[in-house]
Amino acid sequence: MPSSISSSKHAASAERLTASDRPGVAQPVPVRPIPPQPWGAIALIALTLCLALLAAWEWRMRTLGLEAGDLDDGAAAWVEQRRLIDAGDVAVAIVGDSRILFDTDPDRFQALTGVRPVQLALPGTNARPFLEELAADSDFRGLVIVGISERSYFRDDIGLMAGALDLYRYESPSQRSGYVLHRLLERRFAFLDDAYRLSTLVHRLDPDLRPKAHSPLWDVWKIRSGSDGRHSWVWARLENDARLRDHARDVWLRPAPGRPMVPVTADLVARTQAITRKAVAAIRARGGDVVFVRPPSTPQLRAIEDRRIARKVGWDPLLIAAGVRGIHFEDYPAMRDLDLPEWSHLSRRCATVFTDAYTREIARSSALLALRNDAPAPLGPNDCRAQPVADARTGSR
């Protein structure tokens, strides 16, 4: 039998033959020469170099504000939460976009009610298909909190995280194990952050010289930190770094690539109302309930959002059409004048205040949620006023 792996003395031979050089015959056992090199020493040096560079990279990422244990979000994390509903009785589930995701403090919610909500909101994603999905799940009999913003709810497409439902319908064993392993590593290494991949950092260097071509410079950079259970909040550095804050604000003010900010049509409004009404009715028929929540945004963003669909065209008629209760931040003093570092999401401390306020409102009106007897005292905007912090990291990426 021919030797398939030749000794190193043959390595310097010229080009070896392949199947393309041997038509119409049985192909022999392949030959794979090993180049004559001190491979043990080479491997050791390569490993040492790689580890040294990784240590330096990890240190650099930590100086940029990344932290070990800041868990990435994504479809697999969402699926993990969604399966909690399949596993047993879930009293409260939250669907929506990044605002209700970042602006909800589940610890506060639990302290007030004794119930920890299952967080199913997804950044840049329309809550409607997820509300419909819960409505179609006969096992779900709880309360759904639908957090909406005008940008995401009144549209036909699902948005950024359309793949979450597909993954929920089929997640392969290797996808699940990959997710578990990644979680283990994320708890120990700060550099493992989706927003700080090598190619992402390179792409951000784009000089934005080609007008009309969407520059990665104006992609959403890291704005989120998170922990278990998809508890998410605005990244601490965003609260302190003026440059990052300004960048995020600029991004929100620009129209999404390929999706100019055009007013919502009456037809789309009617369609949205009809789908919502049907989903709400299905959930109520099983003894569940639905509440809509509109988290805050600053006047600068409100102006743009109103141009797309004003409250009197979108929010108010939606509540009437679907017959649901809604909590709009404009209607409650405790939810106004909160700190929104990049205009779209609350600071972490104000998210706790907002959660406190909207949870109390829901408990006041819904039979499915009640405040604990030992619930902490109400919070107000004064509990989370922005404190000026020196922009020590301004200018760094």
Binding site: A14, S20, I42, A46, C50, L198, H203
Partner: protein, 471 residues
């Protein structure tokens, strides 16, 4: 599971450890077989049944083939293997395509036929292992190979995880003999295998997924028609992406097998330095092109029955080769274009048989080959003919006034990476990686290896599937 995943790293470490244990050779082969089934089941456990069906049918067909004395009986057993394997492939891969085309055909003659919903998931790698198992019965039918000595060796040949889902497409004569005697990698084979895996994963994770997939996707998924610069750069990006993706997979697979002490054949040989299309197909996806040549082109007559028959065999082979890549007419056109290129080249070689190109002409012809290959990539990448025409119009300058699509950073990345890739292919077109490494300073190899590994880790690959998994 995919090579570029944390799951595979853990899996591979366990397999290596198990293979290094002092078990008997048969036990080690059983371990490898079980590991390979786990590797496949990590996508979708029920699809292991298909692997088993293919394995068992071909094993018994081959045994019966050997025992059969009459040519008709031999042919019948061979056909059974072909029908079962291609039948499964047709059902899972081409069922929906066939139904939709039948529906369109019926509509064209005024018959309204609405096909039922065809919600079938394509088993990953079915095209690859179907061809591998087919080569087993076909080689025995053609008396090129003897059947495997035992079922374990044969089952491991079909299932061996490094080549299972995306090749290199192994022939039984290449792999089965390697299972006959105990194998364990030497330290040098293990280190070199790991170095190859690092190189392959760098191509996939950093170059293909990190830097080339975005510009290709932006151009090919754009709602607007691209101008000349964007159309070319998007297509060049795809040419680099698909090479780095697929050659990266092959290199990783070869490295993984080497770590276990097995040798797998080359699948790529610097294809973007090809001069002409017959040269291209001797360098690109070698194990597929040689499979198609040996089991399709030659049985169709090859070049033994006159010019007309040769061109027919060539076109049929390339059209079916295109269809093998995907159940869509765009893939058929991709294959057809390559068939036309090969036919024209054959005519020109006959017409100018005495002409020998000088160095400059060689490079010019090489660049022309690469440019024409890029034209075919348009049909390979585009999701529809409408999109393909839009990109082609852009490439030939007909989309005047088109808005820019790609930002400067993507243009620069494509120019740098694809330019570097083509230059590297030209520098290495007449040599092998092993020959170059044999001459390189050890310190340089160590530094490059360390940098490639570092880049893979900090790119934090998202575990994207390899493009060829869908084929």
């Amino acid at each position: 599971m995919v090579f570029n995943s944390l799951t595979f790293m853990v899996f591979f470490a366990l397999v290596l450890a198990l293979h290094a244990m002092p078990f008997g050779w048969t036990t080690k082969k059983v371990n490898l077989l079980i590991a390979s089934y786990l590797f496949y089941a990590a996508w979708n456990p029920p699809f292991i049944l298909l692997l088993w069906i293919s394995t068992v049918v071909d094993w018994y067909a081959a045994q019966a083939l050997v025992r059969a004395e009459k040519p008709a009986a031999r042919r019948a057993w061979m056909l059974l293997s072909v029908v079962v394997n291609l039948g499964m492939l047709a059902y899972f891969k081409y069922g929906e395509f066939l139904l939709h085309n039948f529906s369109a055909l019926a509509a064209s003659v005024g018959v309204a036929y609405s096909p039922p919903e065809y919600d079938i998931v394509l088993p990953v790698g079915i095209s690859f292992y179907t061809f591998a198992t087919l080569s087993y019965t076909l080689d025995i039918y053609l008396r090129r190979a003897r059947p495997a000595q035992n079922f374990l060796d044969y089952a491991l040949f079909v299932t061996f995880f490094p080549h299972l889902v995306a090749g290199p497409i192994m022939r039984p004569t290449e792999l089965v003999p390697q299972f006959a005697t105990p194998r364990r990698a030497t330290a040098h084979q293990l280190y070199f295998g790991l170095a190859l895996m690092t190189l392959g994963l760098f191509q996939k994770v950093v170059l293909a997924d990190g830097f080339l997939s975005d510009p290709a996707e932006i151009v090919y998924d754009a709602k607007m028609a691209p101008g000349a610069l964007d159309a070319w750069m998007g297509t060049l990006a795809f040419s680099g992406q698909i090479f780095c993706d697929f050659a990266g997979y092959s290199t990783t697979a070869i490295g993984a097998a080497l770590c276990l002490g097995f040798a797998m054949p080359d699948n790529f040989r610097f294809p973007y330095a090809a001069v002409g299309f017959s040269d291209f197909w001797r360098r690109w996806h070698i194990t597929l092109s040689s499979w198609l040549r040996d089991y399709l082109y030659i049985p169709l007559g090859g070049n033994r029955h006159g010019e007309a028959r040769t061109y027919f065999a060539l076109m049929a082979t390339m059209l079916l080769g295109g269809l093998w890549h995907g159940a869509s007419w765009t893939f058929v056109v991709w294959g057809g274009l390559h068939g036309v290129y090969l036919s024209v080249e054959r005519m020109l070689r006959t017409r100018f048989a005495r002409w020998r190109p000088g160095p400059a002409a060689l490079i010019a012809l090489g660049l022309l080959t690469y440019a024409l290959v890029n034209i075919t990539w348009v049909f390979f990448r585009a999701s529809s003919f409408e999109k393909a025409w839009a990109v082609l119009r852009g490439m030939f300058g007909f989309n005047t006034g088109a808005d820019p699509i790609l930002p400067v950073v993507h243009l620069a990345a494509v120019a740098l990476i694809v330019g570097g890739l083509v230059a590297t292919h030209w520098l290495m077109r007449n040599t092998t990686l092993e020959t170059v490494l044999a001459k390189a300073p050890a310190a340089l190899i160590a530094i490059v290896w360390g940098l490639l590994a570092f880049a893979i880790v900090v790119e934090q690959g998202t575990g994207n599937a390899f493009i060829y998994f869908q084929f």
